[in-house]
Symmetry: C2
Subunit: 231 residues, 2 copies
């Protein structure tokens, strides 16, 4: 059955009015009719099987027939990454990481990076579409950009992947499947001071291998590596 997304649908309701965007898609693009069935995800593990009660291209009303709630995830994969200059590289990182089950993405502002602003909405759309495509029921949390200092203070004790020539552990030596944010350097890498700041907040330095990876490749590799250790 076709999947839709609305974070406001909840199990206490019998009927629900879909957002304008999804309503338009259902009526104008898919040309669905009254009594057609569909599934709405809330991004928090619940799938609502519904049928169209009243079709309207701006506020399509659904009758909720059944609710399935998945168990909460028993792991977290939280990647904090400096946005790349080219937005499409960030977008594909979000798409692929969502397909693979990332749970949280934080955007950070570092010294050696050109982009310090970006539109969270576009990234969120990519995540929603990847969630549907991969038939997941949990949508990753995407946090708007904050500076590295604030990030490591409120999210201590993680891993920091950088390219500087220093003592580093391998990923699987130190990764833990809960509460272990992973910092991925921006296109100009972290500065020495930024690395020290992280280490002073309980971070461990790790290597992702000998070769120089692009920022978004490093982010996805860390996500995939975490996934292989969780499963």
């Amino acid at each position: 059955m076709r999947l839709f997304f609305d974070p406001n649908i909840n199990a206490s309701l019998q009927t629900f009015i879909l957002s304008e965007e999804e309503s338009k898609h259902i009526i104008r693009v898919l040309r669905m009719k009254t009594n057609d069935k569909l599934v709405v995800l809330n991004g928090k593990g619940a799938s609502f099987t519904c049928e169209i009660k009243e079709y309207h291209s701006k506020k399509c009303e659904l009758r909720i027939l059944k609710v399935d709630q998945d168990l909460p995830l028993d792991y977290s994969i939280h990647i904090a990454i400096g946005p790349t200059k080219q937005m499409d590289r960030m977008e594909w990182f979000i798409e692929k990481a969502t397909e693979l089950g990332i749970t949280e993405i934080s955007l950070i502002a570092c010294k050696n990076q050109e982009r310090t602003k970006l539109k969270i909405d576009r990234l969120l759309k990519k995540a929603v579409s990847a969630m549907k495509q991969s038939q997941r029921t949990f949508l990753p949390k995407i946090n708007d950009i904050v500076d590295l200092k604030s990030f490591v203070k409120s999210n201590p004790n993680g891993l920091i992947a950088h390219c500087r020539d220093e003592d580093k552990h391998t990923f699987h030596q130190d990764f833990s499947k809960t509460n272990c944010p992973i910092l991925i350097g921006p296109e100009g890498d972290f500065t020495k001071e930024e690395i020290e700041l992280a280490l002073n907040n309980g971070y461990k330095a790790i290597t992702l291998g000998e070769n120089r990876l692009r920022t978004e490749t490093a982010g996805l590799y860390a996500c995939m590596f975490a996934k292989t250790l969780i499963e």
Copy 2:
């Protein structure tokens, strides 16, 4: 130093004339001059430190100063994949897989797939650029499209990742770091007959996790998984 690529440079030469494409880039874009130094990779593990002997925008002549030859790789990661409908998805697969050290990519024609032709040249260019970017010295081999039957007959005893509900092993149970081609299904997945064909040629069926991954995500995930097992 700046990296360039030419598969024809070799260690028996004292001078070398670069290809028209690289010559043009060196002279017209980078505006390099006589005696400027650069490195030419041959994609087979050798790095040639050179200086410009005579600059010419179509046939730049180099004097070879030094040759470094890396040891042959002690592993292979060979992914055989059905090309996606959208070419850019294949291109990023090639880019990321090259950054991560894939050694061979084979394109296969399967029953449930829309695209059966593609331009190898564009993919090769992506690979060359990713090789330079990640400072690797080996270029992956990219094989033009063949049908699945020919592929499994000439490359037996690998792994086949598919989405059908059958008995499957996990990746790390069966991956071997040499001579273990990994078949990734096309966008419409393999047919039952295609899976049987592979199994009859010594392939083992594997799963890449419970969720449905896009073809190019599955290919990259397999490549990254292999990399974590090799290192």
